[in-house]
């Protein structure tokens, strides 16, 4: 499977994502500069973490106007798997592919630490291989990862099973203490209606090897690879 990893000015998880996809999981991946206007030849798109445009103005607010984003929107609407991680999630929200917004952490401080995620929705190629109710251990690293939306939107997301991951404790209990940033209803990741677009604040590309702390993040990459193979059959 061939992944496009979009690099905006200020992106920094591009190489980490490339490393885990290529060196750990044996997939093909290419870093695509934000000025590019084509995603031809790719099977999936990753909008990685970082500080696109320094997070100036508002996280993701400038990156959404990059030339490549028109193509990302088109690909998403055409059903291609798209995942936005951290800053990429913020870009997806800014560009209207996903509802809601990420605001400053409740603590008003940047937080880099391991979190536990309860997988709640398998109706996405990104999570189809992870059982609902399974717990993944994946780190966060952000100052503005506090997911918020109006009540109607949150209700709709939950009713439609579009909450993909929630922050939980080690046992999978969704508790206030396990919420690292104040996100509404402990939401860590959501998907679009079709399921092909997922946004999440935690960094699966940082949970790719036991040597560096854990490999649960690979479940997400493997899932999308298996879904693509399944679709092709």
């Amino acid at each position: 499977m061939r992944f496009a990893i979009v690099r905006f000015p200020g992106t920094w998880s591009d190489r980490d994502t490339e490393h885990v996809l290529v060196n750990v999981l044996g997939q093909e991946a290419e870093i695509v500069w934000h000025q590019e206007t084509s995603l031809t030849g790719f099977d999936a798109v990753v909008l990685p973490g970082g500080f696109s445009y320094g997070d100036y103005l508002r996280c993701g607010a400038i990156a959404r106007f990059s030339p490549i984003m028109e193509e990302v929107v088109r690909a998403a609407e055409g059903g291609m798997p798209v995942i936005g991680i951290c800053n990429g999630f913020q870009v997806l929200c800014e560009s209207g592919l996903l509802p809601g917004a990420l605001i400053r952490n409740r603590s008003l401080r940047f937080r880099c630490e391991w979190t536990h995620l309860l997988c709640e929705s398998g109706e996405s190629p990104w999570t189809a291989g992870i059982g609902e109710g399974e717990v993944l251990r994946v780190p966060i690293s952000h100052g503005e990862g506090n997911y918020q939306a109006d009540r109607a939107t949150l209700d709709e997301l939950e009713a439609a099973g579009r909450v993909v991951f929630r922050y939980c404790d080690e046992q999978g209990d969704v508790t206030p203490d396990s919420n690292p940033n104040g996100s509404a209803r402990n939401i860590a990741g959501i998907r679009n209606e079709a399921g092909n677009v997922v946004g999440m604040m935690p960094h699966p590309e940082r949970a790719g090897e036991e040597l560096t702390g854990g490999a649960d993040g690979n479940r997400i990459w493997r899932s999308v690879v298996e879904a693509a193979v399944g679709a092709a059959v």
């Binding site: 320094g54 940082r206 790719g208």
Partner: protein, 736 residues
């Protein structure tokens, strides 16, 4: 013409220095030239008070790829064709004035030093000192500095993996912010910071030049009584733009790693801006240069040549490009959306000539500018400090056994011993996915991507020890940093240092500076760890008095096999716990300069000591035992003593400990004495015999302390403490 005293004060030159300058120049300098000489002859750029002392450091070795002081940072061969480039640098005064931006631009500056050498920065560490945190201004400085480090480093995508936060009265209002950066480069791909080749282009890349930071080097970092000028010097603090630095870093790295034959040199613009950058490159390349100042992109109109040459605007680099590749280099920076403009060219002369709109506005001989006068003094030991160092900690009554548990909990809640998690989780310590041992242990361990190797990095420095005995304090800083690295299974290989002291004109301060340099040198000799780079920050004063003399040591260690790394935490119940080096029973003198003594008796007295040979044997033992697969964990026994170290092993791992040895002699010294050269290890029971044999072979004393348990209790001698209570004290100690 008699130059006004005011003009000399503005650039921090003495009348004698001015006369020397006129003699060497053969004429009076004009205003621009005077500003340039003042900056380059400042302590900050010219090291005029410290240079003779720094020559005492051992700086050579098989692994060393650079000559100390000749490049932006030191490079060390770590094997497999890779080199580590590292340096630590202070940003104390700017952080005292404007903590967020001061610390942020400190990070920015050290990062540029590393990528200027063609290396990709892979880790940051920050060694911080503050006055007591219960005072509002110190807390403001603390939170601002931590915020600035995170704000800049996180945005760059370089993990902050270690450092220290230490609190002490003498840092009141004058925090120390020492940032260390570590980069990786192919050993044959190191880029020099030099200008050579007549006609080659000087390209200024990155930010526009503004009026910020003028006199940062000469006015702020190199004069006595800095506090008095904090308000007026506020404009000398720069404002960082980490986003631009990120783009600059990526572009420079691509240039250096893929198109190195396009350039002859790469240099950052730091203290004294364009002035030091151009002149130092010319000095290294034995060349001259012509600068056309009207080409320098400016943030505002009306800037004078003086302002352009002395601006310390951040996020700028100087690229010395081969004439035939100027367009290629410009194209590369354009792709990264970073401005790049030719501002001059290299000549085969020995002067830097400044022109504006074709008119000459200054002419500076490279040699005169870059060879600042050097001063040596005869230091004078402070009688007050001498008296305290000779006082006997044993004169205080011993700790009562029934008060031992409470003392442990009270001590571990002190900011210097408390958990720093609330600080380091504000820093991204994982990006680049090389972090194997994260902050919170003895040293951070990073893998070297694409190899089986790893590196370990740690910083250490103890101003309290140095203030009592600068020589021993300097040696202990090296010993402890090396021990930290050893506790991860890495062999110490090289040192970078930052010397933070008061005004060198104060002979008592000078004596501590000289003493610390000698102590560092002795320890570096003993461990075979050359000093490959460093920085000096003088004129650090608090309330008119000098800060505690604070040399900070950054230590690099190498692991041949990164998978063999060790952590500090107890990893399982039922493991045997051993003390390697030294004994449980400690003489009262090991309380010298200890956290315990200051906390309980309000005293900073005694003489801390270290046996460097015994220390080196201990390091060999731990590394040998780890190579033999005998160890589960290792933790340095240092600040707070044996009981604190045991508590940390328990808290980090979530296991308890049950002691099996009698605690004899003075209880306070045994539990909280800070005798050097001791490491706590845990091992499988069957490993005990092998460990004992190895220890006997190298002549290191060992004591089996007890076993790890899965009960939440720490039991050791008179201590019987509930670890949940200890944890609460430990985690809340910083008050964040």
């Amino acid at each position: 013409m008699a130059v006004e005293q005011e003009a000399l004060d503005a650039v921090a030159l003495s009348r004698e220095e001015y006369d020397l300058l006129v003699a060497r120049l053969g004429r009076e300098p004009n205003e621009v030239e005077l500003g340039m000489f003042g900056s380059l002859w400042s302590e900050h750029c010219g090291y005029k008070n410290s240079r003779p002392l720094l020559r005492r450091f051992p700086s050579g070795g098989d692994r060393v790829l650079t000559r100390v002081g000749k490049e932006n940072a030191g490079a060390i061969d770590i094997g497999d064709g890779w080199a580590v480039v590292m340096k630590v640098e202070s940003h104390n005064h700017p952080s005292a004035i404007e903590p967020y931006e001061g610390a942020a631009t400190g990070v920015g500056g050290i990062v540029r030093d590393i990528f200027a050498m063609g290396a990709y920065p892979i880790a940051l560490l920050d060694s911080l000192r503050f006055g007591p945190l219960d005072e509002g201004n110190n807390r403001y400085l603390f939170e601002g500095v931590v915020g600035g480090i995170g704000g800049y480093g996180n945005c760059l995508g370089i993990p902050t993996v270690g450092g220290e936060v230490v609190v002490g009265g003498p840092y009141n209002g004058n925090p120390l912010v020492n940032a260390m950066c570590v980069g990786l480069v192919r050993a044959d791909g190191i880029v020099s910071a030099r200008a050579s080749g007549e006609g080659n282009a000087l390209l200024l890349v990155g930010a526009d030049t503004g009026r910020d930071g003028i006199h940062g080097a000469s006015g702020l970092a190199s004069r006595t009584d800095p506090e008095a000028r904090f308000e007026e010097m506020r404009p000398a603090v720069q404002v960082g733009n980490p986003f631009l630095e990120k783009m600059l870093m990526e572009a420079c790295h691509e240039l250096a790693s893929e198109y190195r034959d396009w350039i002859v040199g790469l240099q950052d613009l730091g203290a004294a801006g364009l002035t030091s950058s151009v002149l130092e490159c010319c000095a290294r390349g034995e060349a001259g240069a012509v600068l056309d100042l009207e080409r320098v992109p400016r943030r505002e109109g009306g800037m004078t040549p003086y302002e352009v040459m002395l601006s310390e605007s951040q996020e700028r680099m100087l690229v010395i490009a081969k004439r035939e590749h100027v367009a290629d280099v410009e194209g590369l920076f354009e792709r990264w959306e970073v401005d790049c403009i030719e501002i001059g060219h290299v000549t085969d002369g020995d002067e830097v000539v400044l022109r504006e709109e074709g008119l000459e506005v200054g002419r500076v001989p490279v040699e005169v500018a870059t060879e600042a006068p050097a001063y040596t003094r005869d230091g004078k030991r402070s009688l007050e400090a001498l008296a305290r160092s000779q006082a006997n900690p044993g004169a205080f009554p011993d700790l009562r056994p029934e008060a031992a548990s409470e003392a442990l909990t009270a001590l571990i809640a002190r900011p210097n011993l408390a958990s720093k998690r609330e600080v380091f989780r504000q820093y991204d310590h994982q990006v680049l996915t090389n972090t194997v041992v994260p902050p919170g242990g003895d040293a951070a361990v990073l893998r070297v991507p694409g190899t089986s190797r790893g590196i370990a990095v740690a910083t250490d420095g103890n101003g309290r020890y140095c203030q009592l005995d600068a020589h021993n304090g300097g040696a202990i800083a090296v010993a402890e940093a090396a021990r930290n690295v050893v506790c991860t299974g890495a062999r110490p290989v090289a040192v970078t240092d930052c010397l933070n002291f008061g005004a060198p004109e104060n002979l008592e301060v000078y004596a501590t500076l000289a003493g610390a340099v000698d102590g560092i040198s002795a320890a570096c000799e003993a461990f075979g760890t050359p000093v490959v780079s460093g920085n000096v920050s003088l004129y650090n004063e608090s309330g008119g008095a000098p800060i505690w003399p604070t040399p900070v040591i950054g230590m690099l260690g190498v692991l041949e096999d990164v998978h063999a790394h060790l952590g500090a935490a107890f990893e399982r119940a039922g493991a045997e716990v051993w003390l390697l080096g030294g004994t449980v029973e400690q003489p009262a003198r090991t309380l010298a300069g200890s956290e315990y003594l200051e906390a309980v008796h309000g005293a900073v007295i005694g003489t801390p000591t270290v046996d460097l040979e015994a220390e080196a044997r201990l390091h060999d033992l731990v590394l040998g035992a780890n190579d033999a697969g005998l160890l589960l964990s290792a933790h340095d026994c240092s600040d707070g003593g044996l009981a604190i170290a045991l508590a940390e092993c328990c808290l980090l791992g979530g296991y308890g400990f049950a002691g099996e040895v009698e605690v004899e002699g003075r209880i306070d010294a045994a539990l909280f004495g800070e005798g050097q050269g001791r490491i706590i290890v845990s091992a499988r029971p069957e490993a005990g015999e092998g460990l004992g044999a190895l220890a006997e072979g190298v002549g290191v004393p060992t004591t089996k302390l007890g076993v790890t348990t899965d009960e939440g209790m720490l039991r050791f001698g008179p201590i019987d403490a509930d670890l949940e209570e200890v944890r609460e004290a430990w985690e809340s100690g910083l008050g964040l």
